[in-house]
């Protein structure tokens, strides 16, 4: 679905490559989490996927990004946005209307969605994200978390095949973050939407993503299933990525020689591990 080949990009006046020889294939239906430290190139990679690079940022561009066979270099971002819905990191830069309903309508009208479809699209997008009750609320009165959901609903109404999200839970409380990821999982599993999400909280990725991509200094360092990536926790910590504390616990118990199984990625697995050590 997405194929990135030998992609290197350096922003105009940039001192180093923001993306350095990236090769990546993302299949239809994947739920890919992208993580890494600040400045690792995560946001630049999302820009390369939705065409913001090279169409809005000047710089040295080598290689190619193809979305369903179309080279993003030769395709306008507006054409790409028919396939890829993007939710930005700074939500206030994305929302343009003063009322929730208008925000969703804005994209639909711009994409010339027939009037007869509009009501159904608005209500189903609001329902999918669980914010039907906010439909007539002023956006200014919403919390950061509610705004994130409005942005997601506005994108969902356009029915993209791919959802590209840059740190969507950065302003959400833990419970809202989990709820947000449950919505993403539902969209992925039941609606077949391919999810690509940049996320610092690896605990969320370990619970919800199918695959994780770890970036450092513009390069892909690890790319694999959640367990394959978490298994390399010492490398992750070396890069500066905080592993779930249950992973640190299982590593410590391995070092102490009381546990020989695989690393834990969630509390359920950690409970089983501890019981296997201490129970009769």
């Amino acid at each position: 679905m997405i194929k990135i080949s030998n992609l290197t990009f350096r922003y105009k006046d940039g001192r180093k490559n923001a993306l350095d020889n990236i090769n990546l294939s993302i299949n239809k239906g994947d739920f890919l989490g992208i993580t890494g430290t600040s400045g690792a190139g995560k946001t630049s990679l999302t820009y390369a996927i939705n065409g913001v690079i090279p169409h809005h940022y000047n710089g040295d561009y080598y290689g190619s990004v193809r979305i369903e066979g179309e080279d993003t270099f030769d395709t306008s971002p507006s054409a790409l946005s028919l396939k890829i819905g993007s939710v930005f990191q700074d939500i206030d830069t994305q929302l343009v209307s003063s009322v929730v309903e208008d925000e969703i309508l804005y994209g639909l009208e711009n994409f010339s969605v027939p009037a007869v479809e509009i009501e159904q699209r608005i209500s189903s997008a609001l329902e999918a994200v669980g914010i039907s009750s906010l439909r007539y609320r002023s956006i200014e009165s919403l919390s950061g978390g509610q705004k994130q959901k409005v942005a997601l609903a506005a994108i969902l109404a356009l029915r993209p095949k791919i959802l590209l999200l840059d740190e969507p839970t950065s302003e959400l409380d833990p419970e809202s973050s989990v709820q947000f990821y449950r919505i993403l999982r539902e969209l992925n599993e039941n609606h077949g939407i391919t999810i690509i999400v940049v996320e610092q909280k690896i605990m969320l990725l370990s619970e919800f993503a199918k695959n994780i991509l770890v970036m450092d200094t513009g390069k892909i360092v690890i790319n694999g299933s959640v367990r394959e990536v978490i298994d390399r926790s010492s490398l992750l910590e070396e890069i500066g990525i905080n592993c779930p504390r249950v992973t640190s616990l299982s590593n410590r118990l391995k070092e102490e020689g009381v546990y020989t199984g695989s690393v834990c990625i969630n509390v359920e697995e950690a409970e089983k591990m501890v019981r296997s050590i201490i129970d009769d």
Binding site: G36, T37, S38, G39, Q89, D90, S141, S143, G144, G145, Q146, E167, S170, E171, L172, D173, P174, E175, S176, S177, V178, Q200, M203, G240, I241, N242, P244, R245, V246, S248, L249, R252, L253, E256, V258, V267, A270, E271, V274, R275, I277, I278, D280
Partner: protein, 272 residues
Amino acid sequence: MIRLQNVCFNYDRDRTLTDISFHINKGEFAAIIGANGAGKSTLCRLLNGLLKPSSGSVEINGLDTGHTKSSVLARQIGFLFQNPDRQICRNTVAEEILFGLELLYKDREFIAERLEKVLSMFGFSAEDNPFNLSRGERQRLALASLIAVEPEILILDEPTTGLDYKECIEIMEIVREMNKKGTTVIMVCHDMEVVLDYAERVLVLSGGKLIADGETRSVFCMNDVLEQASLIPPQMASLAGRLGSGFEDVFTVEEMTELILEKSNEKRRVEV
């Protein structure tokens, strides 16, 4: 030092905070936690005088914020916004740090010394353009500008949002150092692991009400409070809760490892 008495606050007709009362002593490190929309940021803005209570009173070192100019309060309180871009307004790192210093002090030598001290403490280059820095670096710059004026009270609204783990630790260690030197710290934070690692006291807001106020570990044991506030406890506390009896008061990987090893040794002894 900080005293809130029966504080209520309304945005238009919506009641955001209801009957909040608490007292924070000099040198405390307190975290305000709660779900999105619980009123945490509003409470922060009441503490630094950006907002005035609709009823009740907020006192900072005996000054009622309702009758005190923000500029007077700013001498005592440093406020770190969630988004550093709402704080940074100058074209170089040095100018940004000097902004607050020059507003509050006149002695050129003193100002130059403070600038040098903060630049070296944070490892910044004086002439760097703040807007070419990463989000984490901009957050550090915003904090550096606050610390330069050495406020008695630091109020941090989500100081680690958008930062990677290394940057988060860097920021929090600086805050901890300030606290050790006597600065009172009040921090809004969604990361319960950070709250557990750094704050000694936690105030829990839910629906605009203060529903718990106590020592951090005690509050993280109050499952009903956490549930009411839609909060997820730190991972080791969740694990300890699932393991049940014998795992009370376990909050860190170190404590959990030690207890498991102890129990494992006991089991071996019994087997022998």
